[in-house]
Amino acid sequence: MAPPSATDYGSIPETSELGTKKAASNILSIESLIRHPSNMKQAGQYMDRPGLISLGTGLPSSEYFPINQMEIKVPSMHKAEDPELSLSFAKRGGHGEYDLSIALNYCGGSGQAELVRFVTKHTEIVSNPPYFDWQCALSIGTTSVTEQAFRMFCERGDYILCEEYTFSSAVDTADPLGIKVAGIAMDQEGLLPQSLDEILSNWDVQIRGARKPHLLYTIPSGQNPTGATQSAQRRRDVYKIAQKHDIYILEDEPYYFLQMQPYSKNDTASIPQNSEEFLQALVPTLLSMDVDGRVMRADSFSKVVGPGLRTGWITASEQIIERFVRHNDFSTQNPSGISQIILYKILEEGWGHEGYFKWLINLRLQYTNRRNVILAACEKNLPASVVSWTPPSAGMFLWLKVDWRRHPLAEIKSLLDLEHEIFLDAVQQGVLISKGSWFLAERGVAAENMFFRLTYASASSGEIEKAIEYLGLAIRRCFSLIQ
């Protein structure tokens, strides 16, 4: 086997027969198509040969890593009598065991195999993708995945499709890449398939100055910022439109496991008692409907284990995963080895899949409580004549709609000015909220409606109640309403 050479640019893996019907050159950017495998990591394929000595790569020897042992304590998911689980791992020198000597050294662009196996099994349980050559690869979080995906699928001047209000970082990333955003109308369930279809069916290359978009970026569960969650039927409808127009979907789901008990005053819905009931209670993923292999799903540990881990994973067809891993090889490489081994020890050795689902059930209930607290506080303190909202069924955000036209100065002041006034007044009262305009997908386009995004994830119940009280005062003051 000859070492890969500099002449191999432009060659990409063959498409597989079933499922991945897309020819890669239709969707991948020139930059992505040119990416070639790392010469040295390919030489690494020889490493399995018994007796092989490598003088090929600059790997430091693990004897020089100064971290000898690590111990962490996490809640136990199994024994009620023993609430704490102690996990420890040391630098023993390899020989098969996944230990600190491996974690502290270089690893491949798809991440440490043991952790990849766990997330793959987990994905199989949760989504069971309906095509055969799907794979998982680790990421350093969905912010990074989004940036890489834009560069993998778009050229400068292209449009992408996304919800009309979206995660601002995604636009911050797209903008400088010369990628323009076409916002799609939403209702309380999120993305509207009719709006998606309309925009694509009526796409005029001349007027838009760009080819028809082929990438949809969507946050289907607990959408950031609107908190909307697409139902199963809504997702099926979106997928159908994607098929009709041959669109590739980036399914960004950091809040998927923050799906909560339904909101009702009586709260009669039963609490899931085990993983089967939990999984049944969840809205199915787009990945679970993906017969064509046109979805890249981005999962993250950020909201379920901790954002500082900077670890998540993606699921896509083998062909797309290969391109993604090539990209990793020459940028961030892989998540921190420490983050990876910690996750592995907790998830695989400490909790197992069942234990992890138990943890997720616990989170579901925590977020349910927090949501209920903020909604009760809103009902008590916010003037219904001016403020309205849809109770979120997933995620960490509450999206308040403010009827700004009822503001005494609505005739002479702009929406943005009034939005700023309310924002500052709230700050004065002692509560910090996020302006809805920050999340507009199409910046520079005048918004019709005024929104504010609130999170119930971080403050304590007492703080949330106080904060909403302050917000109520601020709004009443701004709108000259009697207390």
């Binding site: 003088l55 600059g58 900077r310 670890t311 961030t332 971080s458």
Partner: protein
């Protein structure tokens, strides 16, 4: 002490305006709204419902404890840095105590010549270099590189349609006259094309050449970069692995030198000459603490740092909180002196390893100083097949890093001469090099093939000839970083056996 610092600040120069270097992509980066409201959070009594931060009580970690070398210095990340903050989203700038440590360390050891330099964490030098390219280069640009360069560094920019301008090196690294000539003649040779404005250089233990650049040479290179307005990306993962020049027959177990002497012996960073803020230094913990940490930092002028931070905020965010917490607590425990002690011992280890490998080469070949023989292009030592007059390769014992770079005389091989005569073979050096690499691999010794390190100069310059490579010459890189002494000796034996066969 404070008064002296103030005086230093008052007289230190400020970085000059660098905005003309920034590419379209980075110029258009907006400030991050959400990170921008962090200022409001410090208002007394403020409750924030603004950011999407999960509550720390929802993280499953209760405590963490690490044991590090030396065993008596046990660091507890949860005591020195709150796990809750290490595991949370931040502004993208990372742990403040770690940034402060890097700042103090840079000031003490690298001594930047201008005043308003700043630190920004990154996920290791591959990530750091990728971010610099994304900051400064347009698609289709040219980048100045060393004559042989690290393949991963190129793979970052090749997909952007960028090409290398390789600059010749000698035993002290990049040759100033070669850099001057390449830039002076640019307009004539590339009419209408923007002159390169970014230099990627690995000045200590250059990968793969193994050369280390001294202060005087750096001053010359820096002055040229001022003359031609070049930004220097000082890619420096091996900085502390600096070795004295090898003397034939020297002990493979050199006596360790005291830390202070070691620190005094270090060559200066480019930062020491940088009065204008045109150096971006890439520092990493990969080779000193462990590559799996995915942690390092930039030293850069405020303009570049701000744009690099904006990029990070909507891309990689901050490095792993765990890595930051562990490294910050370790470095805080060791203090700068302890870290210097650690790296000086590390350097001793790598020096031994360099000498082991040279000893192995001496055991399997007859080694003679190149100065005593006249083989064009051969420097350092020439290796002959034992009991023959046949020189096969030459090498310059590295003065830094982890690699020995061997320069092969392919024309000593009958097989190569056969390929050279064959009209159907367009690139005999490449074909022979591939065959030889495979033969080594099949004989159970893996080497770094020289072609991995050839700078990419475009599709029309892919053959050895077209790229300006030497006729009948090829290279292989041997790493002494990883194997045990016995493995290394065995590997070199296999290396020698193959050579005996092929040449």
């Amino acid at each position: 002490m404070a008064a002296l610092d103030t005086i230093a600040l008052a007289t230190a120069t400020k970085a000059i305006d660098m905005s003309h270097h920034v590419n379209t992509h980075s110029k258009s980066r907006p400030p991050n709204f959400l990170k921008g409201i962090i200022q409001y959070m410090s208002y007394g009594g403020m409750v924030s419902l603004a950011g999407g931060l999960p509550h720390p009580s929802l993280f499953p970690f209760q405590s963490a404890n690490i044991q590090t070398f030396p065993h008596s210095a046990e660091a507890r990340p949860d005591q020195l840095i709150s796990l809750a903050s290490a595991l949370q989203y931040g502004s993208g700038s990372g742990d403040a105590s770690l940034v402060k440590w890097a700042h103090d360390f840079t000031k003490k050891v690298f001594k930047p010549a201008y005043g308003d330099w700043e630190i920004l964490l990154h996920n290791g030098n591959t990530d750091g270099w990728a971010k610099i390219v994304r900051l400064l280069c347009e698609p289709g640009d040219y980048i100045l590189t060393e004559r042989h360069t690290f393949s991963s560094s190129q793979s970052v920019w090749i997909p952007m349609g960028i090409r290398a301008v390789p600059i010749d090196q000698d035993g002290r690294g990049l040759i100033p006259e070669a850099l001057d000539a390449a830039l002076a003649n640019w307009e004539a040779e590339h009419p209408g094309i923007r002159r390169p404005h970014l230099l990627n250089i690995v000045p200590v233990g250059s990968n793969p050449a193994g050369t280390t650049m001294d202060g005087a040479r750096r001053k010359e290179i820096y002055d040229l970069c001022v003359k031609y307005d070049i930004i220097i990306a000082e890619d420096d993962p091996y900085f502390f692995l600096q070795f004295p020049v090898y003397k034939l027959g020297e002990s493979s177990d050199p006596t360790p030198i005291p830390q202070e002497e070691f620190v005094k012996s270090l060559v200066p960073s480019f930062l020491e000459f940088d009065t204008q803020g045109r150096v971006i230094r890439l520092d990493t913990f990969s080779k000193t603490l462990g590559p799996g940490l995915r942690l390092g930092y930039f030293v850069a002028n405020p303009q570049f740092k701000d744009l690099l931070l904006r990029g990070a905020q909507c891309e990689t965010q901050a490095p792993s909180g765990w890595s930051q917490a562990i490294v910050a607590s370790l470095l805080s425990k060791w203090a700068i002196g302890g870290y210097l002690e650690w790296v000086s011992n590390l350097r001793g280890q790598y020096l031994r390893r360099r000498n082991w490998m040279i000893d192995s080469l001496a055991a399997n070949f007859t080694i003679k100083p190149a100065a005593d023989i006249s083989i064009p292009g051969a420097e350092g030592f020439v290796a002959y097949l034992k009991d023959t007059d046949k020189p096969i390769f030459s090498f310059v014992p590295p003065t830094g890093g982890m690699f020995i770079w061997t320069r092969f005389l392919y024309s000593q091989s009958p097989r190569f001469l056969e390929l050279q005569k064959d009209e159907k073979v367009e690139d005999p050096e490449k074909v022979f090099g591939d065959e030889l690499w495979t033969t080594f691999a099949d004989s159970l010794v893996l080497l770094g093939a020289g072609i991995y390190f050839e700078p990419w100069q475009g599709k029309d310059k892919q053959t050895t000839k077209a790229a300006g490579g030497e006729e009948g010459i090829g290279y292989f890189r041997l790493a002494y970083s990883y194997s045990t002494k016995e493995e290394m000796e065995l590997g070199i034996q296999r290396f020698a056996a193959v050579i005996k066969d092929v040449f």
